[in-house]
Amino acid sequence: MQPGVVFAQDYQYMCSEAGQNIIKDAIKTHGLTGVVVCSCSPRMHEATFRKAAAQAGLNPFMVEIANIREHCSWIHKDKEEGTEKACVLMRAAVAKVTLNAPLKAGESKVVKRALVIGGGIAGIQTALDIADAGFPVDIVEKNATIGGRMAQLDKTFPTLDCSSCILTPKMVEAKANENIRLITYAEVEEVSGFVGSFKAKIRKKARFVKEDVCTGCGVCMSKCPSKKGLNEFNMGLNNRSAIYIPFAQAIPNVAVIDKEQCIKLKTGKCGLCQKVCTAGAIDYTQQDEFIEEEYGAIVMATGFRPIDASKFDEYSYSTCKDVVTSLELERIMNAAGPTGGVLLRPSDGKHPHSIVFIQCVGSRDVSGRGKPYCSKICCMYTAKHAMLIRDKYPDVEVHVFYIDVRTPGKNFDEFYRRAAEQYDVDYIKGQVGKVYEENGQLVVRGVDLISNEQIVLNADMVVLATAIEPDPTARKVANMLTASIDTNDFITEAHPKLRPVESPTAGIFLSGVCQGPKDIPETVSQAGAAASKVIGLLAKDKLTTNPCVAHSDELLCNGCSCCEKVCPYSAISYETKLINDHGVKETRRVAMVNEALCQGCGACTVVCPSGAMDLKGFSNKQIMAEVDAICL
């Protein structure tokens, strides 16, 4: 046995009730001052064992875990080698635990207000659920209206009900709810603080329209002489005026002026909208405003966008107008879209007779042009599009090139089969190699892998099921929130299975596609899950803080300020005070750590030249002892 070890026991399921009882009994029977559990990762059960120790009267921070599962038995095939390594890991943990000191968690406040970043269906649903529980919520939306991507969709699968018919009531509800404040046309600029008390600075961009005065009558839009702006809501397929309301059901139903496009703002001349506005809502002098607010929890619901299809020049997206993305097709199919819901091809406004859908454009692509993941929603929306077109225009031939058709989800496969069987959509197993224009005719060259033939099809329109990627703001927001992000810019969850709506950063929650590709029902259920986590947090009056924080020994502190400069939380400040060093009294400058702000990273400990700064729970001596034990 290792020096200091008085009791050792083997048990298969240490984390079980019975296993925990063994630990509790041992602590009481042997009067243990430290416990080492050789088990799975501390990221899994450290909290469990610490709680058990506490129940037996031992300070929970006198427990250390030797990770002999994920870091040992699961990866080493050679039993002898593995066992040897397990012993070393145990030795290191014992060496550490003998130097552990009892720690006591502090307390910090919980601001009972939540911030939701993003006002799509994910953000709206999360906010509604939090608000319903009685907590105030702010939704910050970068666009002029809430609604997000779902507002742009025509119908939804697999029920084929109208997207805005089910979304609009939620948007209205968000506006009407007393606990929800909508901050549209705004972006979060800065976030500081930590779980329970974040401070956010929000920039509300100038709309040049008084939000509380505008009635949304729309007269300004019709009178505006500058009508050449690309209509973002319609994916740039038609134009809008410089002053505009994004779409009929926009919330808030308030106009906004595009300052790059507005003649008055660019040249000082015009001012027509101001003249026609009977409410007097137009204000060309409006400036960006800043809102500063404290929040107990923050939800990221930053959503997605389709990737740029022009990277795939073999599909001729940038050269042929009749090659469109699926989201563009949504707008073409939509009654409020550029064609009033009539299927007309963009180049000449004629009715198409043959449409080819290409799936997996940029999804499952490791060539560097696309995304390595499956975008998850494309198989289903392509089936939806194919079915809707065949239903409304039976004269149109529809071909779908697919690699796999992925339809896990309630009623999803049945939906796809209906498209193929009842609506006679031609599903071709294979990819398209090239789309090109020949004598004014779109030609699609693909392959049918089942019949093993290359197929050349004439098409009037080609629809690309482009991959989706996280909204480009996600990375910036995640960095601001110190939430970790994966190589595809999706936000990492605290645990892929067990904590899917939380970020590893305490107090940050995930809702919707910012966490990974998902469809509307999944988004809504995740939004609800994130809300319930937020509610659970906001329902608390106090939070216990991590006791593994930095601590400065004022007898050793030189007062050099190195630590202060590297602290990411401004948790270190300097104070000139009377120091009594074993009877020698001196007034000098020393570092002080604010334990509520300190998150325990340890950056300060390394820059401290005198070694005055140390980290509780990961002290210099403890880590040195671990190194020692490993290199024995």
Binding site: C562, K565, P609, S610
Partner: protein, 332 residues
């Protein structure tokens, strides 16, 4: 240097007499002419022992940590004589809030290079009784028991002056100097490059041979202005480094490497460590390696060039070089 010397001493006396300062940190001749040691003079009378000659290499900045505070407590000021290179250390200590600036009167003193008695001896002189600087300012007359001889000053400079950083003072309240700044002298990284060109095994052998000479007298640490912690980590049990009794310890073996890292980014290359080492270990080769790397990786940085700088190790840029990329550079 004769003329500057006389003016410096006269001005120190004057400042003391006027009451501008009540203490003077300078150099005092010891038993031998060449062992001019740092000394804090507390009366005008005692200033008769103040010297400033070719053997006043000691850097007095570090003494300001205690003396500036003490002077303040007594309601006075301390005068410190700083050569150009010493001012870097002084600034660095100001950056680190170690010196009560308001209690210090900095008299910048011109310097034309300090001489190393051992190097004079190496020139074959025995029984040296004294050294006089010749009027040309370039040679010394060496008086010995066996007659006089002459030696070129450039040949007997201490290491730090061989690679002088320049004749400009980075900070002063008053300046007595006739020198024009000619910029740095020699290539101070030549020694580092020589080592870098060797194989790792040869480098290890080199350092093993040098560091085995070390007797752990702590002279380097005691003279170093960057090594000015209230309590050194080597003496602090909680640091996980110190272990006083056991000689076969981590601290004992890695002393110089640890020390070099502790002063990395803060070391002004004042050269005191090498100068004071009784075993002649070229300790500056550690410090200059860090300085060279810092300059190459993160851009030129001179610790102490001004007070309040943010040192390279408490700073970063988002696109800093990766340690892996460093591996591909230089060395083996």
């Amino acid at each position: 240097m004769q003329r500057v010397s006389e003016r410096v001493i006269a001005r120190a006396r004057e400042l003391m007499r006027e009451g501008t300062v009540n203490k003077v940190a300078g150099w005092k001749a010891g038993e031998f002419f060449y062992d001019c040691a740092p000394y804090v003079f507390e009366s005008e009378e005692s200033l008769k022992d103040l010297v400033y000659d070719r053997f006043c290499a000691a850097n007095l900045s570090k003494y300001m940590i205690k003396n500036s505070v003490a002077a303040g407590a007594e309601g006075g000021k301390v005068l410190v004589l700083l050569k150009p290179c010493d001012t870097y250390s002084f600034n660095q200590l100001l950056t680190e809030h170690r010196i009560a600036r308001e209690n210090v009167y900095v008299l910048g003193v011109g310097c034309e290079g300090m001489c190393d008695i051992d190097r004079i001896r190496e020139k074959g002189f025995k029984g040296i009784t004294g050294v006089d600087e010749n009027a040309d300012g370039k040679t010394l007359t060496v008086h010995t028991l066996y007659g006089d001889g002459e030696v070129a000053i450039d040949d007997v400079l201490v290491n730090k002056c061989e690679f002088c950083k320049g004749k400009a003072h980075m900070i002063f309240d008053e300046l007595i100097s006739d020198n024009e700044d000619e910029g740095p002298r020699g290539d101070r990284f030549a020694g580092v490059r020589e080592l870098e060109a060797m194989s790792p095994a040869d480098r290890f052998a080199f350092w093993q041979s040098e560091l085995s000479k070390c007797i752990r007298c702590n002279a380097c640490r005691n003279a170093c202005p960057a090594c000015s912690c209230r309590k050194c980590v080597f003496d602090n049990d909680a640091s996980g480094i110190a272990s006083k009794a056991n000689t076969d310890s981590f601290e004992e073996k890695m002393f110089h490497i640890i020390r070099a890292f502790h002063v990395a980014g803060r070391c002004t290359d004042c050269g005191e460590c090498t100068r004071v080492c009784p075993q002649g270990i070229p300790l500056h080769l550690f410090n200059r390696k860090y300085i060279k790397d810092i300059n190459e990786f993160y851009g030129e940085y001179a610790a102490g060039a001004e007070a309040g700088q943010r040192g390279p190790l408490i700073n970063y840029t988002v696109d800093d070089i990766e340690p892996a990329a460093v591996s591909d550079k230089g060395g083996n």
